[in-house]
């Protein structure tokens, strides 16, 4: 708990290796990183940054990281396309003396620092909220997962399974794979809905809530409590439903600006701060009371974002070190 490390990093370079840029979440994430990097360079906190995106191909990402090693970056921030497949190159980078910070991914190579959410708490928060709304009676839930064989999906689903033990009356009547994509989720949910009983709640992973809502609407079914994922269209739909029939839910999710956390973590490590190997970042949660404030702030069709600056990230690191509650992202005024 020693606050911001002030070591000189003005000559350091930080690269961001991104596995995929093909959705708006990732686009905002990249821009968040670039803006922070540009500002930091202006403030002489670092020399420069670079961003390289692979086209959803782990092997391409791996060879891009090899090239980043060759170019001699001081730190590489990685959003990994696979939890384990980059272990080889991450090790190579560490061996070359490069600081590797993997964020929003479960990279298992021990030499890398990890900046990630606690995905157990993700599932727990979803189920606890539903229990609070629905009570502990027998309720039917639909789980929308990400993609089969994906590490993030597996960890989040494991969290859901763990949390389900505390809610024995809940039943997940089906699960579909929505690929964190509204259109896919809409199609998959539409397909299974006819075969399902009345659904009381929908567990999501982010990016899929709006599509699920469209599917229920298209099937002419009442909207269950769909846990939203911080997209503007989800919040707008929620607000509209709330105004017309008092619909309530909550929204939970990652923020694209987690790339900024990773950036500052890397910078702080370079500056000499003692950083634990795992830095937990808080999820951004929106409840009914904050809905209007967040909705006003998020751009049309975009994703709820927040800014993580250097002091905030230092606080987050310190909270991790001290095992204190993480500083949350306050709702905009």
């Amino acid at each position: 708990a020693d606050g911001i490390a002030k070591g000189d990093t003005s000559g350091k370079t930080i690269a961001f290796s991104n596995s995929y840029a093909g959705n708006s979440f990732r686009q905002v994430m990249i821009r968040s990183f670039e803006e922070t990097g540009a500002q930091a360079a202006k403030d002489h906190l670092i020399k420069s940054t670079a961003v390289v995106s692979a086209n959803n191909s782990v092997t391409e990402q791996a060879s891009q990281i090899q090239n980043l090693i060759l170019q001699g970056y001081s730190a590489i921030v990685v959003l990994a396309g696979s939890d384990t497949a980059l272990n080889g190159v991450v090790k190579d980078a560490c061996d070359a003396g490069i600081v590797v910070v993997a964020f929003a991914s479960g990279v298992t190579e021990p030499c890398a620092y990890r900046v990630d959410y606690d995905l157990d708490s993700y599932g727990k928060a979803e189920l606890d909220y539903l229990a609070g709304r629905l009570g502990q009676g027998p309720e039917n839930l639909l789980e929308i997962r990400g993609a089969a064989g994906d590490g993030f999906d597996k960890r989040l689903h494991a969290g859901v399974e763990k949390a389900m033990k505390d809610h024995p009356t809940f039943k997940i009547v089906n699960e579909v794979y929505g690929a964190w994509t509204s259109t896919v989720a809409q199609k998959e949910v539409s397909g299974v809905l006819p075969s399902l009983p009345k659904i009381d709640g929908v567990l999501t992973q982010g990016g899929d809530g709006y599509g699920a809502a469209m599917a229920f609407e298209g099937a002419g079914r009442p909207l269950p409590i769909i846990v939203m994922g911080n997209r503007q269209d989800e919040l707008a739909l929620w607000k509209k439903q709330h105004q017309s029939n008092g619909y309530e839910t909550m929204s939970l999710g990652a923020t694209p600006s987690v790339s900024q956390v990773a950036f500052w973590v890397a910078q702080q490590i370079l500056a000499g701060k003692q950083v634990p190997k795992f830095v937990e970042v808080p999820l951004l949660r929106i409840d009914q009371g904050d809905l209007d404030a967040w909705l006003a702030k998020v751009p049309e069709g975009g994703v709820v974002n927040a800014t993580y600056d250097q002091p905030l990230v230092a606080d987050i690191i310190d909270a991790n070190v001290d095992h204190k509650p993480l500083p949350g992202v306050p709702a905009p005024k």
Binding site: T59, L68, T84, A85, K154
Partner: protein
């Protein structure tokens, strides 16, 4: 009368001169991707002179090794006039098998490889006997491999045997390991496919299967053998990939399918059957592997990076105007 034969001869010789000389065409087929590769390396050396070292080349081409094998596997299938859309997911399946079993249960792992290769050959037979379009059968196969991989290894994990990691990180004398492997693969491919007497039969079967059948060869056997060999090369690709990444992942290599096709085409091959070059394919695989990561050197703005990949693809393939026949 002898007059006439000389005319014929003169004419034949002249036509041969006019039609592009075969050796020239072959040389161009390998030469063009080599030029593209050299150009990309020059760009990289210019940006980062230290890349021109044993260490630099190791890093640049490390991840090309599995792609080389995958591309050679694709090449064999293309030789017969087929296309293999399941190549990438098969490599993924192999990484899962390797990461799960090879270290602790090598016998079982070997058995699984053999089974997988046999399955590949069986699909080749199915395509042949039923005269099915390979594009759709291999599309179905890609789902099957992916499904098996996900059943085996629901999320990325497992561990490659230590000897495999050690081998893939081995630093042999003179040249970096990826370069050695590429050279050996190109040489072996050339000897088997281009030079050997059975390679001639194989290429003939791709171009004019009826003629080869009439000469007394079993097309069924040829296709089964080729698919089995393609499966074996894909196993090698998966092994190399597991050695590099140290783990298995069902979704690791779907991009190998189209990259492999691209490498074959870039190496002077075509879909007409029988027209492929193993050396060209290896060079093409190195080139495409580098093209994907060249971006990290070029500082292309993030939103244009993928577009730049398209442009690079066009640039490295532009030389085909010189060699390719007019029809696709």
């Amino acid at each position: 009368m002898t007059d006439a034969t000389t005319t014929d001869a003169v004419l034949a010789a002249r036509r041969l001169g006019l039609a592009r000389r075969p050796w020239l065409r072959d040389a161009l087929g390998v030469g063009l991707p080599a030029v593209a590769l050299a150009a990309m390396l020059a760009v990289i050396m210019h940006i980062r002179p230290t890349a021109m070292s044993y260490f630099g080349f190791t890093l640049l081409f490390k991840l090309a090794t599995p792609l080389v094998f995958a591309a050679l596997s694709q090449m064999l299938v293309i030789t017969l006039g087929d296309i293999d859309l399941s190549n990438g997911s098969f490599v993924g399946l192999v990484t899962c098998v390797t990461a799960l079993f090879l270290a602790d249960a090598p016998v079982e792992a070997l058995l699984l490889y053999v089974l997988a290769v046999a399955a590949y050959a069986a699909f080749g037979l199915l395509i042949h006997v039923q005269r099915l379009p390979s594009i759709i059968v291999t599309l179905g196969m890609s789902f099957i491999w992916l499904g098996l991989a996900v059943i085996l290894l629901p999320s990325p994990g497992g561990a490659a045997p230590a000897w495999l990691n050690a081998f893939m990180n081995w630093r042999p004398p003179l040249l970096p390991l990826p370069i050695w492997i590429a050279l050996l693969a190109a040489l072996a491919g050339h000897l088997v496919v281009t030079h050997s007497s059975y390679g001639a039969v194989l290429r003939g079967a791709g171009a004019n299967p009826r003629a080869v059948e009439r000469a007394g060869w079993s097309l069924l056997g040829i296709r089964a053998a080729v698919y089995a060999a393609a499966g074996s090369l894909a196993v090698l690709s998966g092994l190399a990939l597991t050695g590099l990444t140290t783990s298995g992942d069902a979704n690791i290599a779907p991009s190998y399918t189209l990259l492999g096709v691209g490498a074959v085409i870039l190496g002077g091959g075509s879909f007409t059957g029988g027209a492929v070059s193993p050396v060209g394919t290896v060079v093409g695989a190195l080139t495409l592997s580098l093209a994907g990561s060249l971006l990290s050197f070029l500082q292309v703005p993030p939103t244009w990076q993928i577009g730049a990949q398209g442009v690079i693809l066009f640039l490295v393939l532009a030389g085909r105007i010189l060699v390719a026949e007019k029809t696709p």
